[in-house]
Amino acid sequence: MRQRDVRLLILIVVITTVAGWVAWPTNPGIHLRVGDKTIDQDIKVHQGLDLQGGMQVLLEADLPADQTIDPDSMNNARAIVENRVNGLGVTEPVVQAVGGRRILVELPGISDPEEAIATLRETGLMEWIDAGSTYLEPGTRVKTDVVTGSNESAEASEGEAETVYHTVLTGQHLKRAEVAFDQQGFPEISFELDQEGAQIFADFTANNRGRFLAIALDGEIISSPRINDPIPDGMGRITGGFTVEEARNMVVQLRYGSLPIALKVVDTREVGPTLGEDSVNKSVRAGAIGLGIVLLFMLIYYRAPGLVADAALIVYALVTLALFKLIPITLTLPGIAGFLLSVGMAVDANILIFERMREELRQGKPLQRAIDAGFRRAWTSILDSNISTWITCGILWIFGNSFGASIVKGFAITLGLGVLVSMFTAVIVTRTFLHAAFAAGGEKLREKTWLFGV
């Protein structure tokens, strides 16, 4: 065995061991403490929404298509949406700006999609309205004199002559908002205003005793309290017979401010948790069965070289799975299909090599030369086929970048990565193993033709 092969063999063993450890399903991750530095790195599979269940929402600025959008406001809108998402208490959410006018939100494991969308999308404009002596029923939609980019004007089309109310104060002056409970245990929102807000509030309540100061969120009255006493300190409560959930969502909206741009939902995709879990279990089983059949087929059809190819294929599977975890690549169902398909591609390289080898052996060449010729002559075909698969993956990846086809991206990435890894395992690993076997058995292996199925 040549020096180079020995070195490669050691390298392969090391890589396989590390990859095997990383790929192990119950890998604990790395949690180290060296001096004052701590390393906390979980090593786990990132599951896409179709596997763990959840919802994907695409929000788009609700403005005419030809109107340019200020990147700053879009960025602020994204930050506010992100804060609200974090307020929802979802694990590992994704909030991402897509192009100039869209925000993509992924909420794994969400239970109430309707409520979640409302929380994300509603502008969250809180107003204290001077309602004069009229009591406004909660749920009434009102128009006010506050002009922001986010005013919903769609309601105006009802045709009735509408009263435009004066807004005393907006949520901008909020310093603090949180869910509290009154004596009876009903949820309410307790808030505190900043200095300026407290001053306006104090003046207004002092001069307007007995009148109604209605509170509206996004143009809808949520509460209509009557001013009994002046409120000098800017502290107050909003009661309105809402549920804890509603109170919490309102607080989330209040706390992170109102959106500078109105957003509309243009696309949602939901996967129930049952389907997700079912998909994971079935995919693992399908993968194991598919891989098992391929291993068996290679062994039966190619005998000794087949066994070597099987070893290389196992190295391949471990390395690829480890890369999925480390990069990390979010696994989706099409992604798993792409990976399994790349298993087929990985053995293709070996098939090309072994077919060439068999031809050489049938022509009576010695084993060593047949092995070398097999690798040399198959190389261009392997390269050809892998490059063309790579081009396909590249095109699919670009296609998957358009939002509606994002499911395609997972397939393109896992297939492409798989093909890349297989170039290493199917060629270098197989050759090193074959050389090692040859070093152990020598040219007399040539006599045992059944080993090669010649």
Partner: protein, 318 residues
């Protein structure tokens, strides 16, 4: 030696039988549905809701409930053992209203029919559908371009490279037409919809299919140089048999994996893999039984012309 190319007329007939019903279906579908294949919500926009009941349900029982309100124009289908129900609508309300309507529908169904679980719900706005369609067209054009360049490079130093190239492209069209035909027929008969994964399957399979025929053509080219005395038909036959092992072994492995996912894997990607599997099998078939016989026919027709009219010189018209 078994002669593969001899019965090529029969093979062309089989290809015609495979493709023509699909073309008829596509024409009919274009007239009836406006597109050669039934397009899914990925491209048209709309919503798709899949529910699972604990007990099998009758369509007649759930239809009136579903057809109230937003889902008035919904098409309803039961899947498998009548526990899963797929509800499709062309969306004419905003996505948020659709989600609200869906939640309300779930509550009503749970009250009146029995416990129900939501499997998935997709709601695609029309603008997103248009964008996906545009991206799909770009992907198709890019793939076609890439394949043509690939073929041109692969055959650049071969005599009669043009013929090899045309045969490879003809084979590609053969496979694409067949797959589209299958999708079109299934769309008409079983309501199958074409989504972005369908396109992915077709593009992937075309890549494999062209690669497969190039391996065979490569070998023909090699053998033409090595065995100058032999007739073209014999050389082709030999090349086919030599590459058959690789072709079959590779495709078999891919087929094993796909069959495993189709039978044991999740439901969501079953159609995707089924199309890929059909494409893979057709791709292997059409290399051997369409592309190569086509090449032979072309070459021999020329030979006949050369051999059949020896000494005939074109005389100037008197």
């Amino acid at each position: 030696m078994f002669n593969l190319v001899q019965k090529r007329r029969w093979y062309f007939l089989i290809s015609a039988i495979l493709i023509i019903p699909g073309i008829v279906a596509m024409i009919y579908s274009t007239i009836a549905l406006g597109s050669p294949v039934r397009l899914g919500i990925d491209f048209t926009g709309g919503s798709l809701l899949e529910l699972q009941f604990e007990q099998p349900v009758e369509l007649a029982d759930i239809r009136p409930i579903i057809h109230e309100g937003v889902f008035a124009d919904a098409t309803i289908q039961t899947v498998g053992d009548h526990r899963n129900v797929v509800i499709r609508t062309s969306l004419n309300v905003g996505a948020q209203e659709a989600v609200a309507a869906k939640e309300a529908l779930k509550t009503r169904l749970a009250e009146e029919i029995g416990p129900v679980t939501e499997m998935r719900f997709d709601s695609v706005g029309p603008s997103i559908g248009r964008e996906t369609t545009r991206a799909a067209l770009v992907a198709i054009l890019a793939t076609s371009g890439a394949i043509l360049i690939f073929i041109a490079i692969a055959f650049r130093r071969v005599p009669n490279a043009f013929r090899y190239g045309v045969c490879a492209v003809a084979k590609m069209l053969h496979d694409v037409l067949f797959l589209l035909g299958v999708a079109s027929i299934l769309g008409l008969v079983a309501g199958w919809e074409v989504d972005s994964l369908f396109l992915t399957a077709v593009l992937t399979v075309i890549g494999f299919s062209v690669q497969d025929v190039i391996v065979v053509f490569d070998r023909i080219r090699e053998n033409v140089n090595r065995r100058r005395g032999e007739p073209f038909e014999t050389i082709v036959n030999r090349s086919l048999l030599e590459t058959l092992h690789r072709s079959l072994a590779t495709q078999l492995n891919a087929i094993f994996v796909m069959v495993a996912i189709i039978f044991f894997g999740g439901v969501t990607i079953r159609n995707f893999l089924a199309i890929m599997l059909i494409g893979m099998i057709t791709g292997t078939y059409s290399s051997i039984f369409f592309a190569v016989p086509l090449l032979v026919t072309w070459q021999q027709r020329e030979l006949k012309r050369l051999v059949g009219r020896p000494g005939v010189k074109r005389a100037p018209a008197a």
